[in-house]
Amino acid sequence: MNYIELLDKKPDLVTPGTSACQGCPAELSLRATLKVLGENTIMCIPPGCMAGAGCVGWNFDSGLKVPVHITLLDNTAAVLTGINEAHGRDVTVAAFAGDGATSDCGFQSLSATAERGENVIYICYDNEGYMNTGFQRSGSTTKGSMTSTTPVGEVGKGKEQQKKDLPLIMAMHNPAYLATLSPSHMSDFVKKMEKAKSIKDGFVYLHIFSPCPTGWGFDGAKSIEVARKAVETNIFPLYEVDHGEYKLTVPNKNPKPVSELFGMMKKFRHVSEQGIQDVQNYVDKKYKTLQALVGQE
């Protein structure tokens, strides 16, 4: 079954009507994720867009067709651990958490869970901020980005710090499997998710790039285009780390300048040439690090 057939034929385990915004790629990613992970899955979703969109449920109804629990914002990985310890290994125990819950307040529990090598799958959908509460900055927000807590004014120029590189930080925890995924590259996405599901000997971390039309300021029809541009500019390189072996799954021989991505949305509209260059330098350096890890100096 190729990935298109899989996405067509596998049961959609998410409610058909979520209140995620028009063109939200996190909704797409969650549906694709559960199509691959299947019915023998227990899902944890901390507060954030997907929980807010009704994917956990409302009143007496569930938002998913698999068992689902809304964890606290900061304890998702620990709850996964507990479920997994209680169940043993015959169930896929996974989380679908935003970047705030992952890179900020949930990081301590995530880091420890990875260090202990728990056999659970932690998936972060990275929309670069606390979008569900109105686009406040997170550690995962790209430098220069205007957010509701890093507004642009006479003095303010958006977020002043570079994006926290969570996938690489998690890679240094020596997980059994780690990958970056983009909804723009669904074949790669499905392959990685299948690999994640097959891992039985340790911790799995997946990081999905998830452009937010509402928060970032672009037309929802362009969500996939923006995600693709992030890959093409090396802002979000696609790679995997399989038991310590680094591999660029979508090699990028001729990266496009980050300015092409910056030009696609309102959140970067105010950023100066110098501001764009800062991010370009950071992205170039990060990519070199990645190439060194892959072994292509």
Binding site: A51, F60, N75, E85, S109
Partner: protein, 391 residues
């Protein structure tokens, strides 16, 4: 009949937990609780305990791990103290409001600041309104026994509320006493395996555990929780009786009375200081003073009927609190006792006492001083301001 050995309160707590056969244990070390974690780990390392133990990075995660395990149907155990409990507060509240039964031992410790690691009740008292049942014990044997009874209480279908077994840091956690360790087979007979039915994370039976819930339903869930709290009195009494019938040790359920029947004045205590209080009562009784002791065993839910029953015909009582209620210049047990008596229509002269904070000594002399104040009140002295047991 088991065997009797000299062990610390922490070892007693770990043994009580082990005898209850938890499937998942998650804990993080903190003084004075650390040796609970160490002892449980060593039992697992020696193959004496078949639990999976998660060495978490914080108490926040300890409670989160056991919450996850409990949602998947496992019996769980953890232990902590003071700052650890404070860090745990967020999942602590979640555990009780998801009505997930478990037992957590708390080696009671004063809250920082001032920087301290020593004994106190402030840690658990500060979270007494987070939906847990809280039981305070007096000695090592009671710590072990109440952890086993705690599961019986927590897992009762009429209750389904997690239980704290609180024992004073150092005074109980680190002191050696002779403790009878029951046989595993006897504990198994008393405490059958737990099967969770109200929520379960299992792909065979998909459900959302804790979907978004509007206020009108939150009201219903809260009321149901409060109702279950009220049912816990009777369930504890039964758990106590069944335990006594099986193991020969009865504790009196929600409260323990000591020489209260003909008493005019009563001391009220909670936890380890009760032993000293009993000695003070004996000493004063020898001098002809009609004094008794009421030991509060269950702080949450507060056994107002049982407390009022004991105090109804008394002339005066004093409550010695090893905690404070900021803004009231008394401790919590005093306030709750007052509230109970007021609600039930009793007006009795009373004296709030605070002592033992941060491990400060509560001496026999302190106790007899309190009794002497009560004697004066019994002879007509006015109700007094809070009495601090200072050096």
């Amino acid at each position: 009949m088991g065997k009797t050995i000299a062990i610390t309160g922490n070892t007693a707590a770990a043994l009580g937990a082990a005898l209850s056969r938890p499937k998942v244990i998650a804990a993080y070390p903190i003084t004075p609780q650390s040796s609970v974690v160490e002892y449980a780990a060593s039992m697992i390392a020696d193959g004496q305990l078949q639990s999976s133990m998660v060495q978490v990075e914080s108490e926040h995660s300890a409670m989160s791990v056991v919450q996850g395990a409990a949602m998947a149907g496992a019996r769980t155990f953890t232990a902590t103290s003071a700052q650890g409990l404070a860090l745990m507060y967020e999942p602590y509240f979640r555990m009780s409001t998801l009505r997930l039964p478990m037992v957590m031992a708390v080696a009671g410790r004063e809250m920082t600041a001032p920087e301290t690691i020593w004994s106190g009740h402030q840690d658990t008292i500060s979270v007494r309104d987070a939906g847990w049942i809280q039981i305070y014990v007096e000695d090592n044997q009671e710590a072990l026994d109440m952890i086993i009874q705690g599961y019986k209480l927590a897992e009762d279908k009429d209750v389904l509320i997690p239980v704290n077994i609180c024992y004073d840091g150092f005074y109980i956690s680190h002191l050696y006493e002779g403790v009878n360790i029951p046989e595993q087979s006897e504990v198994d007979a008393y405490l059958p395996p737990y099967k969770q039915e109200h929520v379960i994370l299992d792909p065979e039976k998909p459900m959302a555990v804790d979907p978004m819930t509007p206020g009108n339903l939150v009201m219903k869930y809260r009321k149901s929780h409060l109702d279950a709290m009220q049912r816990a009195f009777a369930v504890l009494d039964k758990a106590d009786k069944d335990f006594g019938d099986q193991f020969g040790r009865y504790y009196g359920g929600t409260v323990e009375e000591y020489k209260c029947d003909d008493a005019d004045i009563v001391l009220i205590t909670m936890g380890a200081m009760s032993g000293t209080a009993k000695a003070a009562v004996d000493e004063k009784r020898a001098q002809g003073v009609k004094v008794g002791l009421l030991k509060i065993r269950m702080m949450r839910p507060f056994p107002k009927q049982q407390v009022a029953k004991v105090l109804a015909d008394k002339k005066a009582y004093a409550v010695i609190d090893k905690n404070v209620v900021f803004g009231w210049n008394t401790g919590a047990v005093y306030m709750e006792t007052q509230a109970a008596l007021n609600q039930l229509g009793y007006k009795i002269a009373s004296l709030p006492v605070i002592g033992g904070l941060g491990g400060a000594d509560i001496s026999l002399e302190h106790m007899t001083n309190v009794i002497e104040k009560l004697e004066k009140m019994n002879k007509g002295d006015d109700e007094q301001e809070c009495y601090w047991l200072e050096d």
